[in-house]
């Protein structure tokens, strides 16, 4: 078993020889990856390297053709997305996917129901227990929204928010599922330098405050190098390098992949 360099904490997610093919195309090939508890890992690579596909494999959107994925010590290969979320994997999307007809509050509220015993009977009876449970959900959601300064827009339709707020709301929504591992798919896309700086602060804050592991796919080297403790590099579906930001910066294979070998 190949261990990641610089691994200190026990592993929460591990991918072993994970491969996926779409028809003739091998999008990810023999990928090995480990993420430790409370670790902040970056996944980088040129366009089309298979980063988002790797995300989709981890979150169960696609099932791998070969290989094994383990989460918190349990095999989770080919589990469906909502089951993985229950186990503690949450994500955001490259192109923001908020629930477009729900308010900010309801977007987050919808993400809280997975840890509650299903409420058909309760919702229909509308008794004291229901009111108490709903009040608790409301308190929890508001607390989250306030932390991220979204409480003031709780009743706005989510998709009517400014772009930066939508990005943030997506992160809040993912946090509402109480994850152990948060996957961020290009969180800095479309942001200006000030917003990016703010985002970096935010990601560090989340890691500290919620004590969770974070993995992010990002194009912006500054962001990745600035916050990640460890970075894995993909090219053509294969991992070509892994290490601390300092190591990656000097890795000739990585430089070649980014600058071209010729």
């Amino acid at each position: 078993m190949r261990k990641g360099i610089g691994m200190s904490a026990p592993s929460i997610l591990s991918l072993r020889e994970v491969t996926i093919r779409f028809g003739g195309l091998t999008a990810v090939s023999g990928l090995n990856l480990e993420i430790g508890e409370s670790e902040l890992v970056g996944l980088i690579g040129p366009n089309g390297a298979g980063k988002t596909t790797a995300f989709n494999l981890i979150t169960g959107v696609y099932a791998p053709t070969e290989g094994e994925i383990r989460f918190a010590g349990r095999p989770v290969t080919a589990k469906r997305p909502h089951d993985l979320t229950k186990l503690g994997i949450a994500r955001t999307f490259q192109n923001i996917r908020l629930f477009s007809s729900l308010t900010v509050f309801d977007n987050v509220r919808a993400a809280t129901q997975l840890h509650r015993s299903h409420g058909v009977r309760m919702a229909l009876w509308r008794g004291a227990a229901f009111a108490a449970a709903e009040a608790e959900v409301e308190r929890g959601v508001m607390e989250l929204l306030e932390i991220f300064d979204l409480g003031r827009v709780r009743d706005e339709i989510a998709t009517s928010l400014p772009y930066g707020d939508q990005r943030r709301l997506e992160i809040v929504r993912a946090l509402a599922t109480q994850p152990k591992l948060l996957l961020l798919d290009e969180p800095a896309a479309g942001m200006n330098p000030t917003e990016k700086a703010e985002l970096m602060r935010l990601i560090r804050f989340i890691k500290e405050r919620f004590k969770i592991s974070i993995m992010l796919v990002e194009h912006d080297m500054k962001v990745v190098m600035g916050i990640c403790e460890r970075i894995a590099v993909l090219e053509y579906g294969k991992k070509i390098g892994e290490g601390t930001p300092g190591e990656i910066r000097k890795d000739p294979k990585v430089i070649a992949a980014y600058l071209g070998t010729e």
Binding site: F99, L102, T103, F105, L114, R116, A135, V137
Partner: protein, 316 residues
Amino acid sequence: MFSRSPLSLPTACQGAKRWLIAAVLCSILLSFGQFNRYYLGVAMDVGINIILAVSLNLINGYTGQFSLGHAGFMAVGAYTAAKFSLVFAVAAPEPARPVLFLVALVLGGAVAALSGLAVGIPSLRLKGDYLAIVTLGFGEIIRVIVQNLEAVGAASGLKGIPKYTTLGWTFALASVTVYVVVSLVNSTYGRGFIAVKDDEVAASSMGINPVRYKVTAFVVGAFFAGIAGGLYAHHKQFLAPTGFDFLKSIDIVVMVILGGMGRTASVALAAVVLTLLPEVLRPVSEYRMILYALLIIGLMMARPQGLFAFGRRAVK
């Protein structure tokens, strides 16, 4: 439309039940009134259509599935309830009949719900047009089976169904339907329906099981369609398989769309208007369906969000 102010959640929760009880009591009082039979008949049609439209709205409006088979669920409920009444209730003593009627209705709803489960399962893999055609096909298959089932009169239809449906039953059950759909959707659990409609992939990444929500929507929707069918059977006292064809499903879909998908009150209002409209248009009956068709087209152009969809809501 949805509860928004911080205090609205718990209060609305408890208020709703009170309103339900009031509406049901009102309905029961109504059935003691003496009314012109024609208006009474139309009023019952209105109530039945409210149930159909509001229950379809859970599937098509809130959960974003496109079902064209609601008439099929209605048929299942109608025939089940009618057959039950013909076998058990007719022979039973008078005081037992309301109880037996309720049993018949619930049984009809339950069998319809089972068939909703059967349709909900293919919906796991199909989307949009494909799902629409499968549900349409389901409705037609139900019709063909009923048409060949001698036990329920086959093509000749089922006659002699006792007249148990009253204004009270109809509107009490319509109130229950509205209550159930509204309560279900207006809860943390219920936001899942809308989340599945808005973005299935995102919903499932938030721990919402889309399959479970879709099947729930189909089962609950079918259950109430079955109840409506039972009321219809004991209102018209005669069932013919041709009454549950594709056009009947379209009628219900139009009510949902006219009202505005995913708005219960508007959809109920649309059911009222669309039931009364043909009656109002009777004097020009030869142009009635032409006008109906033009109404559908005109509406889609002028107000695709629904004729009665007032209030703010993001329209994409």
